[in-house]
């Protein structure tokens, strides 16, 4: 009975399609306090005075809190393993506000109406300070985003708040300058990726209450329940034993919910008042006061020989972490570590970066986590290099791409133990008809059809850091309960992990129920991010099931009064091979509850010393209107190597969803600030995510490799899928227009005006 590899329906699917009340706001305690925050209208300011007395008199207002009421120990809201690389630069409320939208006061009241009224009645006097709105020149600027002495960095990431630096590093192998000097062709280009928004359909939201034990219970739409517990403990200054965090269904995350965003405010209110409370972010708050992708400017120097051998890559990334440092020191790393290793036989490489503080909304984790920015840059540079060499970019890649078994110095010194990138490229090429379509065809009506290509990679976890755990328990009637601390945010990991369990235990997937994530009852898991759940937690599930099977056999041996060695267990029955006697799994489960000393429950943890990359090739065909600049996507083909595909349906929708997000980022998702640092794209009216009319046709296939360290050969899929659209589309646009765009999004305006400029 095969469970892995089957397109099994998600366990929660029918609840979701019939609209059951399974999300945070559906389940929040009725009549709980409504929590909202007053936000700063200034990009950089000190609060001179703040008057809340009149606002507090609004009927129904429970209380109002300002910077004077909150603990003064700094913390980070990044959902990362302790000690977090992200600096401790936050307070729940700070006297110093650092971007338009930074919280100034927390208001809690019985109803939304009175809270809204009270918000308007708080009087704040600000001392407005000059602000840094551009990432250029932020480093060593006279204006400091974090001048405070209490700022702390726990890890050696090259951070220095007195230089507006959140992180800084240089790494590499070989002498890049020398190799570049020796290359026939060297191309240097700078690329810029905007602070795109995850724009998950469910905004940030959290509900809190105090339980019978006097503990703070936090129900939140989060990917990281265990980190939430630690962060709240740091923020509120209360012991972790006093906090329970858990998640219901999550309406999308894409990394946004790998950071604590809404949690601290209702948690603070409930801890203070001992009353239930909730906070639901508006879409505007989600757009303007959250955790988007890090804006990055990536400069790539690539050197090659005339015959197309890529010899050296030199990458410098300037990353904008905004007002706070969540994920600042780590996202930037991926911009080099997950782009440079795509090219397997470099003689030298260098990767350096600076991450700067500025006075705009702080960034966070967004699917792709820096790799997206770096891959856009490196793949675009390689496409232009191919053009310069007069080579087909597919050929150039076939010549240089990383291959299975290759050592990857730029990828933490790991070896590509599983890699089907070459097969992905070949298959994608066939699917799109590259030979016939590359580079472009003039349709004779002002329109050009052209194609573009890009490769991508990601990781499958944070090696040596991420921990996934699973508890598997045999119950009466032979059914299993799987407890996990990983968070299904729509990805289907509950189902995928159940498939892995069912495969290991040789039972139908229906016999495995899944629960989590809950800090009280789930085994420890660092959380669902870094593409790690299938790979890391999946392996923990597999191991827990193997151990449980041994226990099952042990219990069966007691029942049959024989040695374990005489028994064979096939998932349904344990059979004494010599006597033919057998007991069913149902009988064993029931027997475990009577006169039993062997716990038929096993917890295993798993952490991986390596992070085997999934690989992918994306190719796109577009039709470009040379006058309006409009780009119509005709066909997007994606071929992915994520190792063994555990659930083909769920893997495919991951790919499709990631591609469409990537398309939005490449072509129209804009982040624009005015001169005061106010974000203009503060709603889904002004920040346009793709509709189903915009995304064209997608075709997805898998070219599987087998990853020996993954569960049943699986790697990851969640993030890699967002990395190819931008470089592939920008390549296709270049093939249609002759213009190499380096700044996302490449809007129809940029294309049309670029063509006009060229004609002049």
């Amino acid at each position: 009975m095969r469970q892995v590899g089957q397109p099994i329906r998600k366990k929660d699917a029918m609840a979701l399609v019939t609209g059951q009340p399974v999300f945070t706001d559906d389940m929040a305690p009725k009549d709980c306090l409504i929590v909202k925050v007053l936000r700063s209208p200034h990009a950089n300011a000190l609060i001179k005075s703040i008057k809340t007395d009149i606002a507090k008199k609004v009927p129904g207002i429970e209380d109002i809190y300002t910077w004077e009421d909150v603990p003064q120990e700094r913390f980070t809201m990044a959902g990362q393993t302790y000690p977090e690389p992200s600096p401790y630069d936050r307070l729940i409320l700070d006297r110093h506000v650092r971007y338009v939208g930074d919280p100034v006061a927390i208001v809690a009241g019985e109803r939304e109406l009175c809270v809204d009224r009270a918000l308007k009645m708080i009087k704040v006097e600000y001392e407005v300070l000059p602000a840094i709105l551009d990432l250029h020149g932020a480093k060593d600027n006279a204006v400091l985003v974090h001048p405070e002495e209490s700022w702390r960095s726990l890890c050696p990431v090259g951070a220095d708040n007195k230089r507006n630096l959140c992180a800084s590093e240089t790494s590499g192998t070989g002498d890049v300058d020398q190799v570049l000097a020796d290359c026939d062709v060297v191309l240097e280009r700078t690329y810029r990726v905007q602070a795109a928004q995850q724009a998950m359909m469910e905004t940030f939201r959290t509900a809190c209450y105090i339980d019978a034990y006097g503990r703070l219970n936090v129900m939140s739409s989060t990917q990281i329940v265990f980190h939430v517990r630690r962060i709240l403990s740091n923020a509120l200054g209360i012991p972790k034993s006093k906090i329970r965090a858990f998640k219901p269904r999550i309406g999308g995350g894409f990394g946004a919910k790998q950071t604590v965003v809404s949690e601290v405010f209702p948690a603070f209110v409930t801890w203070k008042t001992k009353k239930p409370s909730k906070m639901v972010f508006t879409r505007e708050e989600s757009q303007t006061a959250s955790t988007p992708r890090h804006e990055m400017e990536v400069t790539v120097k690539v050197g090659a020989d005339r015959d197309g051998k890529v010899r050296a890559l030199d990458v410098y990334t300037l990353s904008n972490t905004g007002a706070y440092g969540e994920h600042g020191p780590t996202t930037v790393g991926l911009s080099g570590h997950k782009s440079i290793p795509l090219y397997g036989s470099l003689e030298a490489h260098r990767f350096s970066y600076d991450v700067v503080y500025t006075n705009v909304m702080s960034a966070g984790a967004y699917r792709g986590y820096g790799a997206t920015q770096g891959i856009f840059a490196v793949e675009s540079a390689v496409n232009e290099l191919a053009d310069k060499l007069g080579m087909d970019p597919v050929e150039l890649r076939m010549k240089n791409m990383v291959r299975e078994g290759q050592f990857m110095p730029a990828y933490y010194g790991e070896t590509a133990t599983s890699c089907a990138l070459d097969r992905c490229m070949k298959r994608a090429k066939e699917m799109i008809g590259w030979e016939e379509k590359y580079p472009c065809r003039d349709m004779g009506n002002g329109k050009v059809r052209s194609v573009g290509v890009a490769m991508g990679m990601q990781g499958s976890c944070i090696s040596g850091v991420d921990v996934g755990s699973a508890t598997i328990k045999l119950n009466e009637d032979g059914i299993y309960t799987l407890s996990i601390g990983a968070a299904d945010m729509g990805t289907g990991c509950d189902t995928i992990l159940a498939q892995i369990a069912a495969q290991s235990l040789e039972c139908p997937v229906e016999n495995v129920t899944v629960s989590g994530a809950d800090t009280d009852t789930s085994p420890y898991d660092s959380g669902s991010y870094a593409s790690s759940t299938t790979y890391v937690t999946g392996r923990a599930v597999e191991r827990a099931c193997e151990t449980l099977k041994e226990r099952i056999v042990q219990r069966a041996a007691e029942m049959l009064e024989c040695s374990s060695d005489d028994l064979e267990f096939d998932g349904q029955r344990a059979r004494n091979l010599s006597t033919g006697e057998e007991v069913s799994i149902e009988e064993i489960g029931t027997a475990s509850m009577c006169g039993n000393n062997v716990a038929l429950q096993v917890t295993e943890s798993n952490s991986s010393p390596v992070s085997p990359p999934p690989f992918m090739v994306g190719m796109v065909e577009i039709e470009l209107d040379k006058e309006t600049g409009h780009v119509e996507i005709l066909d997007y083909v994606a071929v992915v190597d994520c190792g063994t595909v555990v659930n083909p349906n769920l893997a495919r929708v991951q790919v499709e969803g990631g591609i469409v997000q990537g398309i939005g980022m490449a072509l129209y998702e804009q982040i624009q600030y005015n001169e005061k640092g106010q974000m203009l794209n503060n709603s889904l009216m002004q920040y346009k995510v793709p509709t189903r009319l915009d995304m064209g046709k997608l075709r997805v296939e898998f070219e599987s490799s087998y990853e020996p360290t993954g569960p049943f050969g699986a790697k990851s899929i969640g993030e890699i899928v967002i990395n190819t659209p931008a470089p592939a589309l920008i390549h296709a646009i270049a093939n249609a227009t002759g213009i190499w765009f380096g700044q996302l999004p490449v809007t129809s305006e940029k294309i049309a005006m670029g063509i006009l400029e060229r004609c002049e």
């Binding site: 559906d26 724009a199 509709t691």
Partner: protein, 158 residues
């Protein structure tokens, strides 16, 4: 002010504030399938039927629904299950947050156009945003459902 609305077949008469939005009113009456995804009428998550027509419940006052018929997914459970199963068979429900609105509007589509083309499907559902699925899986599910209906599998029409 007093309103009287037939919600999922049940008449409810009560006093409300004139500026109460229909989405808040239906949620107050336990229709939690209706979600708010934006505040700017752009996402389609809050789709309900007003006198059989799909509308954005975040953008209409409950007062406007006075004397009229409002249906949410809670009132269309059988149709939702029947069609939703096809979305589920693609894994295209993903996070599920946009599903009720999309399914409401798809049901409206099936009632209006018996055998829609892909273009008609995309145009009709253009106002239903989804950030997870990339829409392709939803389209596969819709197509499969239409095929199933053509073969007489279901009677979804009123």
């Amino acid at each position: 002010m007093q309103i009287s609305i037939q919600l999922n077949g049940k008449k409810i008469t009560e006093e409300i504030r004139p500026d109460l939005l229909l989405i808040d009113w239906v949620r107050q009456h336990g229709c939690y399938s209706v979600k708010c995804g934006c505040e700017t009428s752009n996402c389609g998550l809050c789709t309900v039927f007003l006198d059989e027509k799909p509308v954005l419940s975040c953008s209409i006052l409950a007062a406007r629904a006075d004397g009229r018929k409002v249906d949410t997914l809670e009132g269309l459970k059988e149709e939702a299950e029947e069609f939703g199963a096809f979305i589920a068979d693609q894994g295209a429900e993903q996070c599920g947050f946009c599903n009720p609105g999309m399914i409401m509007n798809a049901i409206a589509l099936f009632r209006e156009i018996a055998d829609p083309t892909d273009d008609e499907i995309k145009e009709y559902l253009a106002g239903n945003l989804c950030r997870c699925s990339g829409y392709e899986g939803q389209l596969r599910g819709i197509r499969a459902f239409i095929e199933y209906r053509k073969k007489g599998g279901a009677v979804c029409d009123k």
